[in-house]
């Protein structure tokens, strides 16, 4: 559905994306992770046709994407976007006018669930509620590709948990390609199915969350006991403190000798190690 081939995007002197090749074929919830400035937003804007690539091909649904022919099937609204300052219900109606496939029933249901006052004007809503509304409009669009950029910015814990429910419900009712970009890594792990890690303009990792669940773990022990065990394993990070070493692994599980301790690696820690958080600590 979404296809990037050797895509590069330059902004003045920086390369936001560097020869990125990416293929998203199935209807799944993809989680896009990356540090600030890694190229996440650039990637998403390219899919939506909000900007043009400097080099390479960007295709959605088989057709090339450009800033004039913004793909019909992609819905991307940045959560911090300005909206018409009208009543919430009016805003939803306007969204319906612009898009026949807008699922008004779903939108209304979600308004109720989140206790969003329909009669309030957009500017009267709190920042969190504004973000929620924009996200809701995106999800209700039923477009084949939905992009959510930092959808839970400013949400309290309860709203976040409700959002993840909303996301999974929406996906169950209308399976499609949903890409979520967020910094709240461990939380999205419960809803997303596939993980894409981007770092410094390059795709560092792409696989299923299940894969990470099964293959990401850490081994801790006395440094000398650990070294022989690590040979042949894909080590993504290491920490040595006080004579002990913790090695972070992304590989099949192996038999651990009893003098070593092993722990499963959460998605956030996996991510931190993948982007080089623990390669230099001694």
């Amino acid at each position: 559905m979404v296809h990037f081939e050797e895509v590069t995007k330059c902004y003045q002197h920086t390369k936001a994306l560097d020869h990125v090749t990416l293929d998203l074929k199935e209807n799944k919830i993809y989680c896009l992770l990356g540090r600030n400035g890694a190229g996440k937003t650039t990637l998403l804007k390219l899919i939506a046709g909000h900007i043009n690539a400097s080099a390479g091909k960007v295709e959605v649904g088989g057709s090339p994407v450009s800033t004039l022919k913004m793909p019909e099937c992609v819905n991307f609204i940045e959560s911090r976007a300005t909206q018409f300052n009208v009543k919430v219900e009016r805003l939803l109606q306007t969204a319906k006018e612009l898009d026949d496939d807008f699922d008004m029933a779903f939108a209304q249901e979600m308004l109720q669930k989140f206790q969003l006052d329909k009669k309030k004007k957009y500017n009267q809503l709190s920042f969190g509620m504004q973000t929620m509304l924009t996200t809701l409009i995106s999800l209700a669009s039923n477009s084949k590709v939905v992009i959510l950029d930092e959808p839970v910015l400013g949400f309290d814990a309860i709203m976040r948990s409700q959002f993840y429910e909303l996301l999974t419900d929406s996906f169950e009712n209308h399976p499609r390609l949903i890409i979520v970009s967020t910094h709240l890594i461990d939380e999205i792990a419960k809803s997303a199915q596939e993980l894409i890690i981007i770092d410094q303009g390059k795709i560092l990792f792409q696989s299923t969350i299940n894969d990470v669940d099964e293959k990401a773990y850490s081994i801790t022990g006395m440094s000398k006991d650990l070294t022989p065990v690590l040979s042949g394993l894909h080590v993504i990070g290491q920490k040595t403190i006080g004579g002990f070493t913790t090695a972070y692994i992304y590989d099949k599980h192996i038999e651990i000798p009893s003098n070593l301790t092993t722990q499963p690696l959460g998605l956030q820690e996996f991510f931190i190690n993948m982007v080089g958080g623990n390669t230099n600590e001694h």
Binding site: T67, L68, E78, F84, E97, L98, S138
Partner: protein, 230 residues
């Protein structure tokens, strides 16, 4: 580029709903203009020039093409509107506004002339441009196409402001007016330009000049739209 009439029209409607500022400005000016008229009539003031309030209707044709690209555009994009639909939708807006403004302008002129001409000379844009010389109906159309050109010009210029070439154009326009005017050869070029789009005694030539320039400018806007980042 195909036109999706439904979507384009949906955007036009949305634009009309969100031009409060333009409506207010125009409304205020009209009220002021009409109040002025009433003042003149009741006070039986003989003055040199009475401004036809119809002129103020132009405010709508000036402010709408500023607010539509400057404010409404991105908000429509934020609700998943498509650029192509916006392109045509805005054009529909301008056609309708041009028709309405032209109509009311002439209507108010006629009313003003019939009620106030005894108090002084009525100042009116259509009169000044000489469009009444062929009758009211041709005047309506001449004004309509001129207003449309004006709107498209303002719209395109506003849309360009976020780019470097927008500012370059601003400077260039100011330069053209200030530099061309004193120099006789260039001044006659300028005069010819306005002759074609406004003062030409042949109605069809004036109208066609406006249409050609409008088409050119709106095609230029297409290029700007292509470049527009959201």
């Amino acid at each position: 580029m195909s036109i999706n009439f439904n979507k384009a029209w949906a955007i036009s409607k949305i634009n009309f709903r969100h031009l409060k500022a333009a409506y207010i400005i125009t409304g205020c000016l009209l009220l002021v203009g009409i109040a002025n008229l009433i003042l003149i009539m009741t006070a039986a003031n003989i003055t040199n020039g009475i401004v036809d309030p119809g002129n103020y209707a132009y405010a709508a044709a000036i402010f709408a093409p500023i607010f539509i690209p400057a404010i409404n555009f991105k908000k429509i994009m934020h609700l998943n509107g498509k650029k192509t639909d916006f392109y045509w939708g805005a054009l529909f807006n301008y056609v309708i506004i041009a028709a309405v403004v032209s109509f009311f302008e002439i209507l108010l002129y006629i009313v003003t002339k019939n009620t106030c001409s005894s108090y002084g000379h009525v100042l009116d844009i259509v009169q000044a441009f000489g469009w009444f010389s062929h009758g009211i109906v041709p005047a309506f159309f001449q004004q309509f196409f001129f207003i449309l050109l004006l709107e498209i010009f303002i719209h395109t210029l506003t849309a360009m402001q976020t780019f470097w070439f927008g500012w370059v154009t601003d400077v260039a326009l100011v330069a053209v007016i200030s530099v061309f005017t004193p120099i006789p050869v260039l001044r006659s070029a300028l005069v010819w330009f306005f002759y074609m789009i406004i003062f030409n005694p042949t109605v069809m030539i004036q109208i066609i000049s406006c249409i050609v320039l409008s088409a050119f400018l709106y095609a230029l806007y297409l290029l700007v739209l292509k470049k527009q980042r959201i």
